[in-house]
Symmetry: C2
Subunit: 312 residues, 2 copies
């Protein structure tokens, strides 16, 4: 007899391309996120039995589905091709939003399968399989959404090829506002717009900010975080894809945000603040801009999520 | 009556362009370094009365001399144009070597003058004047040698224009080997060889290493320091200016160095190790390569200098 209740797992949204941390730095949010329920079944292999919240836009074919593929790769690694697993995917966050939706599904799937199998691997060891799953949606091997969604916190990716990631220490009081305007940008398109070259001068400036951001986070030096949380390379190129980007950014900074930039490949915009009251004000100011332009939006305000993907 | 003994100050050599920290990260050595003796005199203004160890290659004209100019700028800021100061500059390190010789003289000069005037400024506040002095030799405003020489430790420069610098925490056990082969490269030439553009991919990889290096230093994670202490952008372009560079680097890594790259604009080469025994072995191996090629060299092995410029 199988336990039909199964295992229910939550994986949070994440903000990648953290300003000066393009392609290498991301953080996890408390909300929104995806839920996956995994159950053992008698027929070997992974099957997706239910998808909700995706408006028919996510495939049931396992090898085309980020969660399904991640689960399959994990089973293969564990040499457990005898095991049958059914996945229910409940999308509870927008996709194509720049909030790491695919990454969350992949992270939830590997944690759910690992739990079902009585945790043969640590969470950290699950990372490669979740990255492989997310790759199906993103087209590239990138851990900067998956790693924070899986492990929580702020994560720096040294090298995607070897899954070499590090936790970045951060002050407790940080809040993140993310606004998702209802405009769609595909990750592939958002990458395509970027110039493949930058100047050495831009590199030096952006690197100085990245290093200082890490030191600011380490030392709870909010003024330094404010000076460092800038993106002089990617944001100027992608801002044009997001209506009213600079108005929203100025509104956030005007209300006291430490920094504000594009979340992932957009169109979501994130702002970081040093407390929850400022976060509420910043979020409202950002949303008002879109409201005034008759653009619908979702606003998410939360602390940085230290836990990552978790069993519910 | 003036105190004719004056004030004697030591400022250490420094390693800038710390691998992935091109133009933004440097560290101070225990040795070599420069000494400056400053004395009050009755005639207002700065005068350079003696220079030793420079083989006639450093100017006595105050506005052309890094130490003299730095001292003058400091007096101007303090509105102490009534004060007369005589400087003796004793070069005890090679210049044109990539060891921050100009920076050391500038740092020594401002500290000596500040001491003579009973410390109107903190050491940190002296930074801008030392940077202005070093600019005379370097042709650009850069704090990545001056800041470590003045303040000690490992320093990250967020922004040269605002002298926005940060201390990077580091493990106690780190040793630095620096070898200076007797080949001259001018800083201006060494800058001129660099391509003004890099790829976005190079930027991402170098940034991932920079961030991870800082986290590795913070956490005393020597394996992470080893993986991160790389320069994929500048070193490949400048290596050709230094005879046998890759042989020396391979010798250092072969003896257990955590990393090895070009110090400043070269021709000196630095290696970082996690203890003094490895440092001795690494230093000998590096020097043997030059010895076998009949190239003279100076070898310096020391801990990272935490103190910076100091009164003797």
């Amino acid at each position: 007899m199988r336990n039909n209740a199964g295992i229910k797992v939550f994986a949070p949204a994440s903000v990648a391309n953290l300003a000066c941390g393009y392609d290498i730095m991301g953080l996890a949010l408390e909300k929104p996120g995806d839920e996956i329920i995994a159950r053992l079944s008698d027929a070997p292999g992974v099957r997706i039995t239910k998808i909700t919240g995706a408006k028919g836009r996510l495939p049931y074919e396992v090898h085309k589905n980020t969660g399904g593929y991640a689960a399959q790769k994990l089973l293969e690694f564990l040499e457990r091709n005898d095991v049958g697993i059914e996945l229910e995917i409940h999308k509870k966050m927008p996709f194509g939003s720049g909030l790491g939706s695919s990454a969350a599904s992949a992270a939830a799937a590997v944690v759910a399968v690992n739990e079902l199998l009585k945790r043969p691997l640590t969470k950290r060891e699950l990372l490669p399989f979740a990255v492989l799953g997310e790759q199906i949606a993103d087209g590239a091997i990138h851990a900067d959404n998956v790693a924070p969604s899986l492990l929580g916190g702020i994560i720096l990716v040294r090298d995607n090829a070897t899954y070499d990631i590090q936790r970045v220490p951060f002050p407790k009081g940080l809040y993140v506002c993310v606004i998702y305007p209802h405009v769609e940008i595909l990750t592939r398109e958002s990458r395509g717009i970027l110039s493949p070259e930058i100047t050495l001068e831009q590199h030096v400036k952006q690197s100085g900010n990245l290093g200082s951001l890490i030191i600011g986070l380490l030392n709870s030096d909010f003024d330094l975080i404010r000076r460092s949380l800038q993106d002089i390379i990617i944001e100027p190129q992608r801002a044009k894809l997001i209506p009213s980007f600079y108005e929203v950014k100025n509104a956030a900074l005007g209300q006291g945000a430490l920094g504000c930039s594009i979340s992932g490949g957009g169109p979501s915009i994130f702002a970081i603040t040093d407390n929850s009251l400022v976060a509420e004000r910043v979020g409202e100011a950002m949303q008002k801009i879109f409201h005034d332009k008759k653009i619908g939006s979702n606003l998410y305000v939360s602390k940085i999520n230290s836990e990552g993907t978790k069993k519910l």
